[in-house]
Symmetry: C2
Subunit: 418 residues, 2 copies
């Protein structure tokens, strides 16, 4: 998928945004009122409005309270409250998560369903479609859906450098799920790595809401993360940004799945931590059991997490010195061990980050849980689709969101048992 990027296409996009922004701010307006506010020529404005009406983003209505007998009643234009929804889908390893927003950028629902790891892409898309359907029954209409933002596991197919010397990124759909979804919904499908999208979700609706420069670290089966730079998702030249899990912490350490040696992931993934705990004589089959051991004051667990936290904090300090974020968000299942891990992370971070940065950094636990990736997908659409390139600041949405998430995920759990 490519958007036209010349000055005229950008200008048209700017005009569309301006009109949508004015309607969002002022409510229903006549063409004359819009013309005064936006300062576009009549021809240009009518052209832009025709486009917005044809996509269903804007609807016309006849003003009922206009004085009669003085020519045609004035027609007003207003945002279509049921239109222009953006959908985010996170295709995680063993679950699909979806979330949706309306044109006012309010999160109107989210839903999740687990599945076996070997489910085909066709079946995953079917599952996503059913989840989206469960949201639309709750009042959404997808007739004017503008785009879908999708997160997937692993690097998203970027061209090799020899085919793309300037690092401009992919021009063609590179992933089967992109093809499946765009043919099913008939809209553009934007795609990125789901951990990176979780970073964007946390920066807009979660723990770092309102933060423009955010570092997100996920400690899960793998160790990864993402960067938000100046409010936008950072990708790097070849889509390989945020690979904190593959920063070397011990050149003589264990081999890593990436082909490297002694990466952070060999020390701080769920498996690495549980293996180390069991090797030290501890007993825990999963993270909740390890968390329980730390809460019971198990010295083996506490010492282990102290060491893991120190290593993680050192890596975060190095990255902070390089990019100077204002907020660091730590998520993933391992963060559920709480203070036993977070406190040593924070101590090492503050010890090793430049002294001038120490009091400027805020370290926080992630708050969006499993919905983070899907919400990040929506944020991607709001940032990058031609029509919807703005989003409101997060806190208002985030407070409403938690209820919506809980409500919307309940039917999904029933669905899973049926």
């Amino acid at each position: 998928m490519s958007h036209p990027r010349g000055p005229l296409a950008q200008l048209r996009r700017g005009h569309e945004e301006l009109v949508l922004e004015l309607l969002r701010k002022h409510g229903p307006l006549s063409r004359g009122e819009l013309g005064k506010l936006c300062q576009l020529s009549r021809t240009t404005l009518y052209d832009i409005l025709a486009g917005l009406v044809s996509t269903g983003a804007v609807v016309t209505a006849t003003q009922q309270d206009a004085p009669r007998g003085r020519g045609r009643p004035a027609e007003t234009l207003t945002l279509n409250p049921d239109a222009g929804q953006a959908i985010g889908i996170d295709f995680a390893r063993r679950a699909v998560h979806v979330a949706a927003v309306n044109l006012a950028h309010e999160v109107v629902g989210s839903a999740s369903a687990p599945h076996p790891a070997d489910l085909s892409w066709e079946e995953r898309v079917d599952l996503a479609d059913r989840l989206v359907g469960s949201l639309t029954d709750g009042g959404l209409r997808l007739g004017a859906l503008s785009a879908i933002g999708v997160g997937v596991v692993g690097p998203v197919g970027w061209p090799e450098p020899e085919d793309d010397p300037a690092g401009l990124g992919p021009d063609e759909p590179a992933h089967p799920v992109q093809v499946l979804l765009s043919s099913r919904f008939g809209v553009p499908v934007l795609m990125d790595n789901n951990t990176r999208l979780a970073a964007l979700g946390e920066a807009i609706w979660g723990a770092a809401a309102g933060g423009l420069d955010v570092l997100y670290l996920r400690l899960s089966h793998g160790v990864g993360g993402g960067l938000v730079v100046g409010g936008s998702l950072h990708r790097g030249a070849y889509g390989l940004s945020g690979e904190f899990g593959h920063i070397t912490v011990d050149p003589d350490g264990a081999p890593c799945d990436c082909g490297g040696t002694g990466c952070l992931e060999t020390v701080a993934s769920i498996r690495a931590v549980l293996d180390a705990y069991r090797a030290a004589g501890g007993r825990a089959g999963d993270v909740p059991e390890l968390a329980k051991a730390t809460r019971a004051g198990d010295e083996t667990a506490l010492t282990l997490l102290e060491g893991v936290g120190a290593t993680v904090g050192g890596v975060l300090a190095a990255v902070c010195n390089a990019i100077g974020p204002s907020v660091i968000v730590v998520g993933g299942e391992l963060a559920e061990t709480g203070a036993a891990l977070i406190e040593p992370i924070e101590r090492a971070l503050r010890a090793q980050v430049m002294p001038v940065s120490r009091h400027r950094l805020s370290l926080r636990r992630a708050t969006l849980g499993e919905a983070a990736g899907a919400l990040g997908g929506i944020a991607l659409v709001l940032h990058e689709s031609p029509l919807l390139s703005r989003y409101p600041a997060g806190p208002d949405l985030a407070s409403g969101l938690i209820d919506e998430t809980e409500r919307a995920t309940r039917p999904t759990r029933q669905e899973r048992q049926s």
Copy 2:
């Protein structure tokens, strides 16, 4: 200095850019021709043109070859070839460097002069003014100068986080040189750290010309650097981006000037390297002597630089895994030791960066030398001033630039002797 940032101000800036872009592309145009090409309303276009003519960016001319006797001859509009120059000034610790471009974004000259480290800001600005004067004698006219981009040593005054929770950056001139220059030249003065500006300069006109995601490391009296992300200078939340010199490489290492311990700067600054060389029995008073020793095959020097390079390469690998650049540029006087340092840097970098990134990374020596910061200042103006927000790709300029730099710096050397 703050620019208006609302949708209407952005739109106006977009219109101005569009008009300048069309004049750059098509040459002289009548108002009617411009109207057809830009699709703006007559009122809007005339308003934009009046602004551009009043700042001197655009000039009007009567078309001489228009048929007579058919009303007034058509007036055409064209870019003012002598107008809209942007100037970059790098106030380094012991020298001032200046460079200038015309409205077509061609580098038209650069000049440098050394000075004692304790020179006052007033005297440094006088010196910069004389250097700019030496360029204007060479054909520049500053009547329509649009902005000055300035680099200074150390962090540029950013507000404390409590005064600026969103990390939006400074609103007021924070530096005496900004006040002095803007009152002398009567134009906006944009400012940033000069090492970061050198990163931008190298990314646009130097070793990484055309690269959108560039990591620049400077190994000098201090160790620092800068990041270019998506073609723009990266600042971080509080202007503390690119502090690679303060990434911890040995938690038990030497104390650093920043207040930390075992920072890269304690291992890889000029002083650290020369001290270590002398402690190991070598004799070198400065970097050129050290470089000479390595070229003569001095084992002490080669072993030392091997170790320093391995440490530097490890830090670069960590930062690359975090931000995924396509090009790494290494500059600063210590890079003058050449392969003895660069090769071990490259070996450690490639050993420790994620295997999937290894063949995507290009490590290069900086090419702009002492002009990098001043050129970066110009780039800042081209990126951030309202009128001049685009720049052409680098290679064409870079080839012309080298001659201009050499020619223009010669009088300065005479000046220094007088």
